[in-house]
Symmetry: C2
Amino acid sequence: MSVGRLDIIGLGPGPERWLTMETPAILALATDVVGYGPYLDRVRIRPGQKRHASDNREELARARHALALAADGAHVAVVSGGDPGVFAMAAALFEALEAGETRWREIEITVHPGISAMLAAAARLGAPLGHDFCAISLSDNLKSWNVIEQRLRAAAMGDFVMALYNPASKARPGLIHDAFALLRELKPAETIVGFARAIGRADEKLTLTTLAEADPAIADMSTLVLVGAHATRSFEACGRRWIYTPRGSGGG
Amino acid sequence: MSVGRLDIIGLGPGPERWLTMETPAILALATDVVGYGPYLDRVRIRPGQKRHASDNREELARARHALALAADGAHVAVVSGGDPGVFAMAAALFEALEAGETRWREIEITVHPGISAMLAAAARLGAPLGHDFCAISLSDNLKSWNVIEQRLRAAAMGDFVMALYNPASKARPGLIHDAFALLRELKPAETIVGFARAIGRADEKLTLTTLAEADPAIADMSTLVLVGAHATRSFEACGRRWIYTPRGSGGG
């Protein structure tokens, strides 16, 4: 039996207009499409194509399943939301591949970039990522609060704009409140904060506020939180409010 | 004269397959396309459409020109490489808009996300951005070495994966060497480093090495440099070497 191939795909934040041009053809060629159910629901499954839905928490099991299918000759597409390399399936696949069966290493693997949530959220808000920034996942299924705290402290020390992924966890609903309490110790009260919910989808909602006035409880599992640097600014134009971080922020 | 509109577009790292699905139609609707010459060369200018090329260093002047055209009724597309919000034109446009003529604030403005260089580079290398990361521009046209040093120190302290943009500057060719000298003080010698040059283009080149063995002189203006976290790993599969940062790196 010949070994198959594995395409690791990011579907972007939701709307088809933010897929990359190559994505529909790559999906159409797959014999098997693997992913978390709500992401699979965005894919038009063609006749004869197999759909393998799994729970969102089972990333490593899903990765092993996809690799096993490909090792048996399937042409597998693994789909993530956003970009597959940013807090999504690509890292789980390489983790499973490194630890897995030797024959899995014959599979032809390609990772295809996608529009990450922070890029879409930033575009909707203006240009908050216009200068140095960092992306931090607040999901603590796999890391401790100590690590999250160390990263938030470092990001504040470096005056990075912060994109906070996974701000709401069913397992630890207090975590986003702890994160905001820490940020309020570390950064000025007037620091600009944006909550970008369900970007590009029908229920999209943008909330622009400050660190002092922000209510972290509004961040749900579909929300990306942006916390500005010292230089991040806000102003009104075109009938709405925008935020941006000037090029060359912080000196020079 | 009615006020026009402005679409701020990212063309991704180069190949058409990494444009978003919406991009060709948005470009086709524009009456005027504004950008740095090599980015404009990627756009098929249709008959009747005006092409406005400018030097790469003149971001703010280019932004003002685009806003003035749109204020006079044009439908302007401003094109950047990568994502327009990441070290590209979107921040310059909002900076020019905030400081500019009041009537510019009537222009209808939309920022459209694109595939940033770090996402494409990460996809080619495996999944180095699989956990918390930061993006730092080493261009010092607009910021001092002190700020760059502060950010590199903070990124090392937080054990972030680092995506270093603009590693080579004609004005300051020594800067990438200074950055590597600092990183070698701050991080282990075996830290994984990737140089991703001209990703997705015919002259693409990937170099995987370690912080101790890296030659920063190979980073040119088309190179994105990825510096791993402690947890970033490297292994061989599918006839090549991959790097990835496991989910949940750094504890818990």
